[in-house]
């Protein structure tokens, strides 16, 4: 009898332990989702800002049609992307196109004096920063979650209940570190 009770107690403990792990995994996954939604809000905001920006700049930067087209094109590709992997690639392309555009703008004093454009530029810069900060938070959460579902004993629960690894939101080195060519010849 006593043996049975002990065995039952051990089984109950193990079950509670696994329930605890399961709940922790759910919590972590929700945190990842929440962190992702933080980024998503900012990405959407950036998509909304770009048409206005391009429209304002169009009249001034007539010789930079290609740069503007690149931005518009990168935006539509980013909006069409679905998986996080695709999205991070498309968004990093968009970041690259935008930073090239903002460098080009430096050569147009008239555009730089336009109040409307300056306000849009400030909003864009801020959104870029917010994306960067939110991305850091998201990646931290993903790292935490991925570690958890790979490590013993939580990996057993993760496999049984189909917890999959989350993807990092990464800006490719190419886009971030590429130095845009600035030519001083006109």
């Amino acid at each position: 009898m006593a043996g049975l009770i002990i065995i039952l107690a051990i089984v109950a403990l193990v079950i509670f332990y696994f329930i605890g792990i399961y709940n922790a995994l759910i919590r972590l996954r929700n945190r990842v989702k929440n962190a992702w939604s933080q980024i998503d809000v900012q990405l959407k905001r950036r998509h909304d800002l770009i048409p206005n920006l391009v429209e304002t700049a169009k009249g001034y930067v007539k010789h930079e049609r290609e740069t503007l087209e690149n931005v518009t094109e990168a935006r539509s590709r980013a909006m069409g992307a679905n998986s996080i992997g695709d999205k991070s690639r498309a968004e990093s392309d968009l970041s690259g196109a935008l930073s090239r555009f903002l460098l080009v703008v430096e050569n147009y004093p008239d555009l730089k004096a336009n109040q409307n454009f300056l306000a849009l530029q400030e909003e864009l810069t801020s959104t870029e920063n917010k994306i960067a900060f939110a991305r850091q938070g998201y990646n931290d959460q993903v790292l935490f979650f991925n570690n958890k579902i790979q490590m013993f004993p939580s990996n057993i629960i993760a496999q049984t209940f189909n917890f999959n690894q989350e993807e990092f939101f990464e800006i490719e080195d190419k886009a971030e570190k590429e130095v845009p060519k600035v030519s001083f010849t006109t």
Partner: protein, 491 residues
């Protein structure tokens, strides 16, 4: 990671806080016993604690409002200063604050900033108009990150309660010492009593009370300032970690240090709250042990030494290198989990003003915008400031004499938010000067050159023509008569 630093902070706070509380309790007890030997000790103790509790409750519920009012801060919206608002929001995301802090601007041309808020859910950052006009985006970000770090590390919370403790100690000792000096019967009363009832022992208590009343405030102040200084370093380190850009904060501090405009609304009580000690020059007391902030050049040098990374470990290394001794600034739990954060590149932003004069002008513009002024840009480039109660439909530019229509309807819509309106009569569509109001032939004045010139209107009013004047007529500000200005260079 952040949590462990907060926990380490909390432990230290409790130790220090207990030290100050002990000081207050002892002070209350001794003073009570010195005044009324029979039961005075206990009632003095409770009275001292009562003062502290009362002040704490007041400050807990309305301390932030009091401080903001005392500093002349005004709550602003996104429209008034989008950049400031955006930067605060960025730091909110980076620091993972649960709610967006309120943003305040202080009506002052001196550059400085502070944060308030007992808990991160409800906090506020305040910056002066002078700070906003001087700093570029990266620098502003550094300053805001420093302030948000103060909230995140629970510095504000601690400094508020410790400050009240210090205040109570100072208050109680002052009252006692003054009473000793100025109450004529005070000394004699207990002297006669103590000699008859309590013998010589009571003298010990009186001496103890006086000693405590003199030394207590000094001791409490030293504790308070020591922790304040250390927390400034920690907030600098956290700010760098949030922004990943030490140069931003470093050059912001440099600009603040270089400015020689004094902050008018700061006093000894509010001084520790600011990013840089606002009491410099005449107002500042002793340096070293009693200063609330570490020397600013040291802070700048530490930040500039950080070249490898932007984490706590890097700040600690830079700090040790600078000081030449390994004093721990960052709690060890924070150092252990450093994971190597890269320093980012500075952003391309060249909106910062060129010199001090320009900065002050921008600061005043911002202050006017906060107070409901509107700006009308004339075609000659002059920015005319319109007070909130301006109600005339048109306005002559004081520099070039053009008539600008005031868009009254838009002005009303602009309200408190800042808006730069372009004068309707601007650019090529220059409005002709209004027709003369009387039948007399218009007066004439022939310009001699291109510089400043003076002529007299027929009413005797002395009129000045500026070098930028390019219209054809000028109307007298007193009698309203129009004088035709003939420029010989164009004719």
């Amino acid at each position: 990671m952040m949590w462990e630093i907060i926990a380490a902070n909390k432990r230290k706070s409790i130790i220090l806080f207990s030290g100050m509380a002990l000081c207050l309790v002892l002070l209350g007890y001794f003073i009570g016993a010195a005044i009324e030997p029979e039961h005075g000790g206990i009632s003095g103790l409770f009275l001292a604690l009562g003062i502290w509790a009362f002040l704490s409750i007041v400050s807990y519920f309305s301390g932030d409002k009091i401080l903001l009012t005392v500093s002349g801060a005004r709550k602003v919206t996104h429209d008034l200063h989008p950049q400031l608002f955006n930067v605060v929001e960025e730091m909110k995301i980076a620091a993972n604050l649960p709610a967006m802090p309120d943003v305040y601007i202080i009506d002052e041309p001196a550059p400085n900033a502070f944060a308030i808020g007992i808990k991160p859910e409800k906090c506020a950052v305040a910056v002066t108009a002078g700070l906003l006009s001087r700093l570029n985006r990266d620098e502003l970000q550094g300053v805001i990150a420093h302030e948000i770090s103060h909230i995140l590390n629970r510095d504000v919370q601690f400094m508020t309660f410790a400050g009240i403790m210090l205040g109570s100690i100072v208050l109680v000792s002052e009252i006692f010492l003054r009473w000793m000096w100025f109450a004529p019967g005070a000394g004699r009363r207990y002297r006669s009593r103590s000699s008859s009832k309590f013998g010589g022992d009571h003298w010990m208590i009186v001496v103890g009370a006086i000693a405590l009343a003199i030394l207590g405030p000094i001791f409490a102040r030293l504790l308070y300032f020591a922790i304040s200084r250390k927390r400034e370093y920690l907030a600098d380190a956290s700010a760098v970690r949030l922004t990943r850009y030490p140069e931003g904060l470093a050059s912001a501090l440099e600009k603040i240090a270089l400015s020689d405009v004094q902050l008018q609304t700061a006093n000894k009580v509010t001084a520790p709250m600011y990013i840089v000690n606002p009491l410099t020059g005449k107002k500042a007391g002793l340096t070293g042990l009693t200063s609330t902030h570490p020397p600013i050049h040291e802070r700048i040098m530490i930040l500039r030494t950080m070249t490898r990374g932007a984490d706590y470990l890097d700040y600690q290394r830079a700090f040790s290198k600078m000081k030449g001794k390994p004093t721990m600034i960052i709690p060890t739990s924070g150092l252990k989990q450093s994971k190597g954060i890269q320093i980012r590149e500075g952003s391309i932003d060249k909106t910062a003003p060129a010199d001090e004069k320009d900065a002050v002008r921008k600061a005043f513009d911002l202050m006017r915008a906060m107070n409901g002024y509107a700006f009308l840009v004339c075609a000659c480039g002059l920015k005319i400031k319109l007070p909130p109660d301006f109600d005339k439909p048109e306005l002559l530019c004081p520099r070039c004499g053009r008539t600008n229509h005031v868009p009254t309807a838009e002005l009303a819509a602009v309200g408190a938010a800042a808006g730069v309106l372009t004068g309707v009569g601007g650019g090529e569509t220059l409005e002709p000067a209004p027709a003369p109001r009387n039948d007399e032939a218009p007066l004439e004045y022939v310009r001699k050159g291109k510089g400043w010139e003076t002529y007299f209107c027929s009413c005797g009013k002395r009129m000045q023509i500026s070098p930028a004047f390019c219209a054809t007529h000028m109307s007298c500000t007193t009698c309203g008569r129009i004088t035709k200005i003939i420029d010989h260079t164009t004719q």
